[in-house]
């Protein structure tokens, strides 16, 4: 038997610190992002990939062959060497994460499994090493829960038990073939990723999208790092700029001697990032430099997850930060001024809904001095003023008479939809932010406060109240509402001026300079006030110079108006419509620097679009 007869194909790929990026089709999007981070000189937990070549081999053979297993074991040995930890064995056990990764993300692919390699012995070793038996025990349970759910496709609720041994026993009655040893866990997870390629949803998606079934998925196997191995360990998140106001100041939280899950579970109260600076100024500045590097490379404000394990900084993930609308506006302008972003890319980055929320009506701050008559959980922001009605049918009939109503209900059900549509705001006694009332209100953009307590608005039925959806409070009477003006904000004026240079259509707040005969007021036309119908309405108009009123400022109307050759839209505020107009045109140069920059600017999230 000679291995020379058959050239040994590589089914795995080690993610090294090389500046050469691997082929995305071979390693998948997630591993490619990790490789990109290492190519920027940043440290990520060591990982290897079972490539799409390995995938094809698996599907041809119908199983994980010895050859494939041997290469996985080699990759594992590599991880053990570079981490100084051992898979399935104390005193410093190596735990792994396993992720699916196709070049194109699609539904139905296997989700991530964490803490793979966990056994009763490993739990004991981890408890000893971290000095935290509760953490080790939780980690064990979390592993079993994810493994049962994601790899075995079981409902974890059906197999809950006090001890991991009891969970395993319960699962084994349903699935006697499960191998619980660390290598068995790893091989089963890799196999589950490969099989998920042919899940019903994945196949359906590829068929619809015309994606080849042969493309295949890779599997990323990565070492877990621990932030709770001692006083020189910890975990945290940071934003490369303040995500609330967009100012150029790093914003983050750090938990010394804690694991990522602690943040989520609320086991520990996070400390500001200065905690890390106190622990180690060197690590702190290394982290800030990393955030800077990632922001420069991605040209977007970054949300970075990191862990410090025994004094060593590891970056776990970096993605585009979710910013408050104010912060999105400020940081986008700053990135242009810093020469990172072109005006064209900046304008395209802001969305019409962000622009709209920046000028959304809000309660004047002075008006909140009187105590609320009811308060609950905010379900949908916005201000609604009207007469309290506790019957949906009455809400419909009063609204038909032109009376503004606030619908107050114990809870809502589909029966109440008509009443909700007629109301200016909805208030419920029971339920949280996931209740029916909350879900439907958000779908309708209707101010909504939920969970105010039984009979909270009973004493106010028939009287006028003001509902502040943003804060979840209800006030007696009609309070003054502040409508921010675009002209009052320097930042908004800047972006409006930029958007005007790129917009193919003129958009103004007033009809100044237009003859009344040249303007079609959509308010007077059937379908003209409904964003769902307005596009068809505009397309059906005779040649028109300008439109105004109705839904003229909606993205649907703007797009239709451009396509119909309309030259001007009169609407206020102007920025949402301007942004919709720019988004309807082909993009120009995405970045402000040279177009031959090494790291492709088209991919800002490490994910193909």
């Amino acid at each position: 038997m000679s291995s020379a007869a058959v050239p040994t194909r590589a089914y795995t790929h080690r993610l090294s610190g090389s500046t050469d990026l691997p082929d995305r089709n071979l390693v998948g999007g997630k591993a490619w992002s990790l490789a990109r981070m290492t190519s920027l000189g940043l440290r990520v937990p060591p990982a290897f990939v079972v490539t799409t070549e390995g995938f094809r081999h698996f599907h041809e053979a119908g199983e994980l062959t010895e050859r494939l297993r041997a290469q996985v074991l080699d990759g594992l040995a590599d991880l053990e060497r570079s981490t100084g930890r051992q898979f399935g064995v104390g005193p410093a056990p190596l735990l792994l994460s396993v992720r699916s990764g196709a070049a194109i993300s699609m539904p139905g692919m296997m989700d991530t499994v964490l803490n793979l390699g966990m056994t009763d012995e490993v739990e004991a070793a981890l408890a000893n090493e971290s000095g935290d038996a509760a953490f080790a025990h939780d980690t064990h349970h979390r592993f079993l829960e994810l493994f049962n759910d994601v790899v075995l496709g079981l409902d974890p609720h059906d197999h809950r038990a006090d001890s991991p041994a009891a969970v395993r026993a319960s699962v084994s009655t349903a699935r006697p073939d499960v191998a619980w040893d660390p290598l068995g866990q790893l091989m089963a997870s890799i196999e589950a990723v490969f099989k998920s390629w042919n899940s019903r949803r994945a196949r359906r998606y590829r068929a619809h999208q015309g994606i080849s079934d042969d493309l295949g998925t890779a599997v990323t196997v990565q070492a877990m790092v621990f932030g709770n191995l001692g006083e020189d360990s910890g975990t945290g998140v940071l934003f490369s700029r303040n995500p609330l106001d967009g100012s150029k100041q790093v914003y983050g939280e750090y938990l010394r001697r804690a694991q990522g899950e602690d943040v989520v579970s609320g086991r520990v109260t996070p400390q500001p990032l200065s905690e890390l600076a106190d622990q180690s100024p060197t690590l702190h500045s290394e982290l800030l430099a990393a955030a800077q590097t990632l922001e420069q490379a991605n040209r977007e404000v970054q949300d970075v997850e990191f862990t410090v394990q025994s004094g060593q900084l590891y970056l776990l993930q970096s993605r585009t930060a979710k910013l408050a609308p104010e912060a999105a506006l400020r940081s986008t302008i700053d990135l242009v001024e810093e020469g990172v972003l072109s005006v064209d890319a900046a304008v395209r980055r802001l969305t019409p809904s962000q622009a709209r929320s920046l000028v959304a009506p809000r309660l004047a701050t002075t008006s909140q001095s009187n105590p609320p008559v009811a308060s609950g959980e905010s379900a949908c922001a916005g201000v609604g003023i009207g007469r309290v009605v506790d019957d949906p049918d009455q809400a419909i009939s009063l609204a038909a008479e032109g009376i503004a109503v606030i619908l107050a209900r114990p809870t809502t059900s589909p029966e109440d939809l008509g009443g909700m549509l007629a109301a200016r705001a909805v208030v419920t006694d029971e339920g949280g932010s996931t209740s029916h009332a909350a879900v439907v209100s958000r779908a309708l953009g209707l101010p909504c406060v939920v969970g105010c307590g039984a009979g909270s608005l009973n004493p106010h039925v028939g009287s006028i109240v003001t509902v502040d959806g943003a804060t979840g409070t209800v006030y007696a009477g009609e309070l003054p509402v502040l409508v921010p003006r675009e002209d009052d904000s320097d930042d908004l004026r800047t972006v409006i001026a930029w958007a005007r240079t790129l917009s193919p259509i003129s958009i103004t707040a007033t009809a100044e300079g237009l003859d009344a005969d040249d303007v079609v007021d959509l308010t007077d036309i059937p379908g003209g006030i409904d964003p769902e119908q307005v596009a068809a309405t505009i397309a059906g108009l005779p040649p028109t110079q300008a439109i105004s009123g109705g839904a003229a400022g909606s993205p649907e109307a703007v797009t239709a108006a451009i396509d119909a050759g309309v030259s001007r839209i009169v609407t206020d505020p102007v920025l949402p419509a301007l942004l919709a107009a720019v988004h309807h045109t082909a993009p120009g140069q995405p970045d402000a620097t040279a177009p031959t920059s090494a790291d492709s600017p088209t991919d800002t999230k490490g994910q193909p679009r």
Binding site: D111, S378, R442
Partner: protein, 202 residues
């Protein structure tokens, strides 16, 4: 009231405000027959006809409600059905939480803002989770269907909505004006509550 007539009015109770076609579609019945039943109930004053859309009048609603225990006695005493329903309620919590993540994103400040769907990665992840949940719930729904076969219609509608959402038609997740995943899920919940005589708990 005959069982088939009650089923039509039950369909109307779940849909609340609907055409005969919509009620027929909800319960899987012939539209012409549903129209006849609804028209007959308009004559007796149980149902109102509002320009082709029907709705139960308060008296009609009370009568329909009072008859559930009679028509659904076997469902209410079916152990497998009740066990499946318990599971539905648990999955329902997860569906509601997912729909919330679809509509709302939490800012670093803890403040929740409307998801403006500008982050495709985030949206894809939520739809993917919804699909996983749907797949895991399907055997349970099939168990319910062995007792009440017409519930099969919900399985088809949920799958169709999910398919559209997965292909990028994002309004099929929770748009209240479409048979979106949430709309159908919610009607199914209402249907189950009516049959079992239970009250919605939020």
């Amino acid at each position: 009231m005959r069982a088939d007539e009650h089923l039509v009015l039950h369909g109307l109770a779940v849909k609340r405000h609907a055409t005969a076609e919509e009620v027929a579609d909800a319960i899987g019945d012939d539209p012409t027959r549903v129209e006849e039943v609804l028209a007959a109930n308009v004559t007796t004053g149980r149902v109102a006809d509002l320009n082709g859309k029907y709705t139960l009048l308060p008296g009609g609603r009370m009568i329909v409600k009072g008859e559930y225990s009679r028509h659904y006695a076997d469902v209410r005493s079916s152990e497998p059905f009740l066990a499946a329903y318990e599971r539905f309620e648990r999955v329902n919590e997860e569906v509601k939480a997912l729909i919330t993540s679809w509509q709302v994103r939490e800012l670093p400040s803890g403040e929740a803002v409307t998801n403006d769907h500008s982050d495709a990665d985030y949206d894809e992840k939520v739809i993917d989770r919804l699909g996983a949940l749907h797949e895991r719930f399907e055997p349970t729904l099939q168990e319910m269907c062995t007792v009440v076969p017409r519930l099969q219609r919900y399985a088809g509608k949920l799958d169709a909505a999910l398919d559209k959402a997965e292909q990028g038609d994002r309004q099929w997740v929770s748009d209240v004006n479409l048979p979106s995943f949430h709309t159908v899920w919610f009607e199914m919940h209402e249907d189950l509550l009516c049959m079992l005589g239970k009250v919605r708990v939020e």
